[in-house]
Amino acid sequence: MIGSTRLSILSLVIPFAALLIWTVQLELHKRQGEHVRVRVTGYDPRDLLAGHYLRYHLDLGHTEPCDQQFNSQERCVCLGPVVDTPFSTGSAAGSCKSIAATCRTFLRGTCADGGRFQTGLEQFYIPERLAPVLMTVPADSNLMISVNSNGDAQAVQFFVGDEDVSTYAERMLEAKQAEHAITARTASP
């Protein structure tokens, strides 16, 4: 039947359309959300680099959005500026309904095992080539995120101080290679 053939052909376009819409949605979220910078810390100094991803923990100050009673539940953290810095940190935590009613910029997440607050922002892809100089989270590391009015956030860029992580790592890599070259020249007869 012609109708069913048209429907069949239309269904073949679904993967292309779905992926395109998802990509556009992610890009719009990244561009249009409020950009906030949050400090990060490593949560396992022995394993900060898994595969090609930097893994870390957001520094949300003294807020405790999760404890045992909130396991697997959705919680939110209100973000407020840290005085005299370009960064934000957690100023209050609670149910998403109460936080959304009282806070302009907030982060939505889920409470995982061990009281960890997971926002989906805990990893950042870096080229494997730069991994040797990023085995520990450098001091003054921070993450630029894009947050929408629903509290959903997306990672935009990873910084070390004010330098983006790729530029920082390239600089460290060049310095390391130069140091090796000097050591090799000194060691050779």
Binding site: P15, L19, T23, N71, G120, Y125
Partner: protein
């Protein structure tokens, strides 16, 4: 080749004459199934392409900007989609190859987009998204490899969905309750809808549902019967019971594999599987090893009977093999200490050989007897 060899044997035995032999050989040569070797090679090629694409995505492309990566990916996906649409009404290897690529390429795309936008999250979300957007494509294909891969992805997603929750939490129990019912729901759909849309897809659905139900869940339940119950278990059984009724409904009102004997055998197998699996889920086993063993063997006996009635010899052989292995495991559980001595090992080995020889010599008679008893 196998057909021609057999035809020669039949002609020599006087079962058929030379003219009939030639007609049968010609018929077999023209059958579409003769192209399955080509399909297999094409499937291997597609798999290698998709693995290659995923590998390239996983490697470092820091010299190429994310925009270019995405543009190239969507161009390839667009090209494959256009190719499928243009070949849609022309059945053949090209159509199936393109549908296979269209079914697997979105998985690579999800990986690429996740990497570019630094997305984090449970893997089941990614595979669930892939399953949903490729289901219409999978149903349009006559490609059984794609159907089996999709079903493997379906059950893999269910398993990762369960383990994503903390093991001692209510969420874990809730997810386990739902996931345990999935094979029954899929079997219900597989039998009830088996004559519609894509029979090959529903065949793959039934195959993997039986593997999960009789293999995975059956073995896990058998082991659970021998342990002490988890009195804190809050696994909801309502989904399991509804799934069982859906499966029974699908089997009873199915259009494929007709016959009352077949219905009886399949329904008996499903009922026995439920009796085996439900008590461990609800924490009512009370460490009853013998009950678990008996129920497991009875469930697989039902599967053997179903295979015998449907004249599926390989399935019958597999079912009886599983029963034999479970008997041997039970023997070692009961007489384990005998194995420690040399004489015990010799006796055990002789017993295993005797069981294997008996099964090999008499399995056809056993299958025939089961079929006659059912009829």
């Amino acid at each position: 080749m196998n057909v021609e060899k057999r035809l020669k044997e039949w002609v020599e035995a006087g079962i058929i004459d030379q003219v009939q032999s030639l007609k049968i050989a010609e018929f077999e040569r023209d059958r579409p199934s003769a192209n399955w070797m080509v399909y297999s090679l094409v499937a291997l090629g597609i798999f290698a392409i998709c693995v290659g694409i995923v590998s390239v995505i996983a490697a470092n492309w820091d010299e190429i900007s994310p925009t270019v990566k995405l543009f190239l990916y969507f161009m390839v996906l667009f090209g494959v989609t256009a190719g499928v649409i243009s070949r849609f009404n022309k059945p053949g290897v090209t159509r199936e190859a393109l549908l296979g690529v269209l079914g697997l390429l979105p998985l690579a795309g999800i990986g690429l987009i996740s990497q570019i936008f630094h997305l984090d999250g449970e893997s089941y979300r990614a595979t669930l998204f892939w399953l949903l957007i490729t289901l219409p494509v999978t149903l349009q294909a006559n490609n059984r490899y794609l159907h089996h891969i999709w079903m493997i992805g379906f059950y893999e997603t269910a398993i990762t969905w369960i383990v994503a929750a903390s093991p001692s939490s209510h969420l874990y129990d809730y997810r386990l309750g739902i996931a345990a019912s999935l094979p029954y729901f899929v079997l219900g759909a597989g039998y009830g809808l088996g004559h519609l849309l894509s029979p090959s897809f529903w065949n793959a659905a039934r195959t993997w549902s039986y593997i999960v139900l009789l293999g995975g869940m059956g073995i896990a339940a058998d082991i659970a019967w021998s342990s002490y119950p988890d009195m804190d278990s809050n696994i909801p059984l309502i989904y399991f019971i509804i799934g069982l009724f859906v499966a029974a409904y699908g089997v009873y009102f199915r259009s494929i594999l007709p016959g009352r004997s077949t219905s009886k055998a399949i329904l008996t197998t499903l009922a026995l599987s439920a009796i085996l699996i439900m008590p461990p889920l609800s924490g009512l086993t009370h460490s009853n090893e013998l009950a678990g063993c008996v129920l497991f063997i009875l469930m697989w006996f039902g599967a053997a009977a179903s295979a015998a009635i449907a004249e599926r010899r390989r399935l019958f052989d597999l079912a009886t093999l599983v029963i034999g292995i479970r008997f041997i495991v039970a023997y070692f559980q009961v007489f384990g200490s005998l194995v420690a001595t040399g004489i015990g090992l010799i006796f055990s080995g002789l017993l295993i050989l005797a069981v294997a020889m008996f099964w090999h010599r008499h399995r056809k008679e056993i299958a025939k007897a089961i079929k006659e008893a059912a009829l």
